[in-house]
């Protein structure tokens, strides 16, 4: 039965995409029915599959279940099968992708209702769902790569959805090009895997690379022991990570994600917060034994992850565009996930991926609702006091902010605390230290956002002020539906394990770590990780307390500076103090405001210096390469022109040549003979 159901998850949105692309234009305002219906059905099937897999029902068991449907490339020893594989990791991703995808589809019915490209938007959204689902379900690196490019394509189409806007078109191009840099790494990684083990099936390749089974194909004599590979395993790991860096926007390929906010807000929520940017995390988690076999590559992952986290968080502190704050926040949280993968806490990374997907999706959809209410205004300096005017949006976004700030018992607290705790216990104290600073910043910029947007005096354009309205229920319902997991998901997935389980006298691992244990078993064994008993009154309790404390510090600091209006707690915003504080650290303030000049650096590197190099190469091509060829031709023609004068056509001149030649030959013979 599942052989049939699993491909349906991909095929239903594909049918929706093809249908809408073909006849959507004629459907007008009804264009959403088929795409949303297709995703709804896919959601139902996906939940069934995910539930069956997570409960270990036949045929999934603990190891997952895969089935090959079609031999795509049968070419001697190079064979690529198109197959789907579902294990608990895929199931977790299916839950995130399908649930948020469905809610974003529903939300878009309201958000995009006035847009002339209504049908086109839904066609693209369905194309994205096809790509993303193919990415998580595929069983072959090559098929993953195809899906990888397809999500890039749909991301490009959706960022540039309002293509008449120049900034949107440029942002789409930027995202595509920056992603391409990472994709080159991924493509090389796939080639390296094939060179090493001769198969592209993910499970076989991982097993062969880590020495579980002998290699396939052209290297049958090569018994892998990790050292005998033609291409060392750490190179493979870093190449795969390069792909993950591009898709998940990690430093230095992070520049495309903030610009991607030019797309419609549902797109930002679905693609650039909850699903596509997680593809990199998923890929590293999926290939965890490869990374675990090369500890130095794990250190690279952790370093880049935590560096991106603090870099993006520091930028988010001062941005005034509501969507850009959330975009940098996404970067920062993705950095957390990679840091978590890098320190070997694989299941904590997936935990954070799930909770972050829900609360960041919620925050983005909420920001879309805010932007809708104040008539497409995105600058937070021209908002304020919206809490009373758009109460549903306010309440759900407040819940999302508490969740991401890491205040217990909402979802973000559990996953973030697990990441930080694991980092500390796995010997990456410096990752923990930076992570704590990032946690303060996270809480601060989120409540800065809430303070500027919802609390305090209204700074909305007086012309717009009377028209502020709450979004229709087709938009607020998805917000509330996302708020539920944003509040509860952390608690549910961590029970009966730490940190709450032991307090209630429960034992055993958390629900999610239990699910993911078989997936990450090999990676954890390669790293030599052992589960220590959770001590609420020991190290773990202290780390827990630290997490909560820094979150509260961040929240209180934001309240002091940007005000609060929460029941009995009433503080006024304090703009003078903000100005004084930013004047005290002018360099840091300007660095944050200018995003640490990365766009300028890229401009300098690739536009100015790269342009010079290109101009030089053009000159070289024109002057040296072309002219060499031209000069050869000119010389030949010139030589012919001048030499033809020798050919006078007069018999006596030729005879003179013969005579002179004869004399020279005879003379030289005599001279030589005389010696």
């Amino acid at each position: 039965m599942f052989d049939l159901l699993v491909p349906l998850i991909v095929l239903l949105p594909l049918a929706g995409f093809l249908f809408t692309a073909a006849v959507g234009r004629r459907l007008g305002k009804q264009a959403h029915l088929v795409p949303v219906g297709a995703v709804g059905l896919a959601w139902a099937i996906g939940m069934l599959v995910a539930f069956s897999s997570l409960t270990g029902a036949a045929p999934f068991g603990h190891e997952g279940y895969g089935h090959d449907y079609y031999t795509w490339i049968p070419s001697g020893s190079f064979q690529v099968d198109v197959g789907f594989f579902v294990d608990n990791l895929t199931a977790c991703l299916l839950i995130v992708v399908l649930t948020i995808g469905l809610l974003v589809h529903v939300y878009s019915i309201g958000y995009m209702s006035h847009d002339p490209g209504f049908w086109r938007f839904f066609a693209y959204l369905n194309l994205f769902m096809v790509s993303m689902l193919l990415l998580v379900l595929a069983d072959s690196f090559l098929v993953v790569f195809v899906a990888w490019e397809l999500v890039g394509l749909s991301s490009y189409l959706l960022i540039g959805f309002w293509k008449q806007k120049r900034s949107a078109a440029l942002a789409a191009k930027k995202a595509f090009i920056v992603n391409r840099v990472g994709d080159v790494g991924f493509a090389l990684g796939i080639m390296a895997i094939f060179v090493d083990v001769g198969t592209l099936n993910i499970r076989d390749a991982i097993a062969a690379l880590t020495g579980q089974i002998a290699t396939f194909g052209q290297n049958p004599h090569l018994v892998v022991d990790g050292a005998g590979l033609p291409i060392p395993i750490w190179v493979v790991a870093l190449l795969i990570f390069a792909g993950a860096m591009g898709k998940s926007a990690q430093f230095p390929l992070h520049v495309w994600l903030p610009d991607a906010m030019e797309g419609p807000t549902p797109v930002s929520a679905l693609i650039h917060a909850a699903t596509m940017v997680n593809a990199g995390v998923y890929l590293v988690a999926r290939t965890n034994p490869i990374f675990a076999s090369a500890p130095q590559s794990m250190a690279v992952v952790a370093t880049i992850g935590i560096f991106t986290a603090i870099l993006a968080a520091s930028i988010a502190l001062t941005q005034t565009d509501i969507k850009r704050v959330l975009a940098y926040s996404t970067l920062s949280q993705l950095g957390y996930m990679f840091a978590s993968l890098g320190v070997g806490a694989f299941s904590a990374a997936i935990f954070h991926l799930m909770t972050h997907g829900f609360f960041k999706g919620l925050l983005f959809l909420g920001s879309g609702s805010v932007i809708h209410a104040v008539h497409e205004e995105q600058d937070m300096r021209r908002m304020g006091g919206l809490a009373k005017r758009i109460p549903h949006t306010y309440r759900t976004m407040l819940l999302g902010s508490i969740a991401i700030a890491g205040i217990p018992p909402l979802a973000g607290f559990f996953s973030k605390d697990e990441i930080l705790g694991e980092a500390f216990k796995n010997g990456f104290q410096w990752v923990w230290a930076i992570g704590i600073v990032v946690a303060i910043m996270t809480a601060f910029y989120m409540f800065r956002l809430i303070g500027l947007t919802f609390w305090g005096e209204s700074r909305v354009d007086p012309a717009v002020e009377p028209h502020i309205h709450e979004s229709p229920s087709v938009m607020t319902t998805p917000l509330w539906l996302l708020a539920v997991p944003a509040v509860l998901l952390g608690l549910v997935l961590s029970l009966p394990g730490p940190p709450i389980g032991p307090l209630l006298g429960l034992h055993g691992p958390g629900l999610l770590s239990g699910w993911l244990e078989p997936v990450f078993k090999q990676g954890s064994e390669l790293l030599g990780r052992t589960e220590a008993e959770f001590q609420i009154f020991g190290l773990d309790g202290a780390l827990l307390g630290a997490s909560v404390a820094v979150a509260l510090i961040g929240v209180l600091a934001a309240w002091r500076l940007f005000g609060v209006n929460l029941g009995r707690i009433q503080w006024r915003p304090n703009p003078e103090r903000v100005r004084a504080l930013s004047a005290r650290v002018p360099f840091l303030y300007r660095a944050s405001l200018n995003k640490w000049w990365f766009d300028d650096l890229n401009h300098l590197l690739f536009m100015v210096i790269g342009g010079r190099i290109a101009a030089f190469l053009w000159w070289f091509d024109r002057r040296v390469v072309d002219d060499t060829v031209n000069d050869i031709a000119t010389t030949t023609v010139g030589a012919g022109t001048s030499l033809r004068r020798v050919q006078t056509g007069r018999v006596q001149n030729y005879a003179l040549g013969i005579a002179v030649g004869l004399i020279v030959m005879a003379g030289s013979f005599l001279v030589l003979a005389a010696r």
């Binding site: 050919q647 006078t648 056509g649 007069r650 018999v651 006596q652 005879a655 003179l656 005579a659």
Partner: protein
């Protein structure tokens, strides 16, 4: 009239000069005298072929060179060490003369054919090959 006398005198001086050169080279009993004469004749023929513009004169110069070669061949064989070879040179010379006659016939008819087209016996006007 003067020119005839001057020309005859120059010719006589030339022949006497040749005889002196022959004597200096060793007289009629020396191979060198014949070879010297042959060389001088060949050089004159070559100079005539290269320098004269008239096609007929060039043909005559060719004859001169051929006969210079004939003279050297006869000279070599006359001084050969084995008596049986001494007649061979004359046979070769006769053969060369026959070939030279045939060649002169062909050459003259070619010159006549060109002359009919070009209306001139001067070879530097025959430049059709340079086009």
């Amino acid at each position: 009239m003067i020119r005839v006398f001057v020309g005859s005198a120059l010719a006589a001086a030339f022949i006497i000069g040749l005889g002196l050169i022959g004597l200096a080279a060793g007289g009629s009993h020396s191979l060198n005298a014949y070879l010297t004469l042959s060389g001088i004749l060949f050089t004159i023929g070559m100079f005539g072929f290269l320098a004269r513009r008239n096609a007929i004169s060039m043909l005559m110069s060719i004859e001169l060179m051929l006969n210079a070669v004939n003279l050297s061949i006869i000279g070599f064989t006359s001084f050969a060490a084995t008596p049986e070879f001494r007649a061979n040179g004359s046979v070769i010379a006769l053969l060369v003369m026959a070939v030279a006659a045939a060649e002169a016939t062909v050459g003259l008819s070619i010159i006549l054919a060109i002359y009919r087209n070009k209306k001139t016996p001067l070879v530097d006007e025959y430049d059709a090959m340079s086009q």
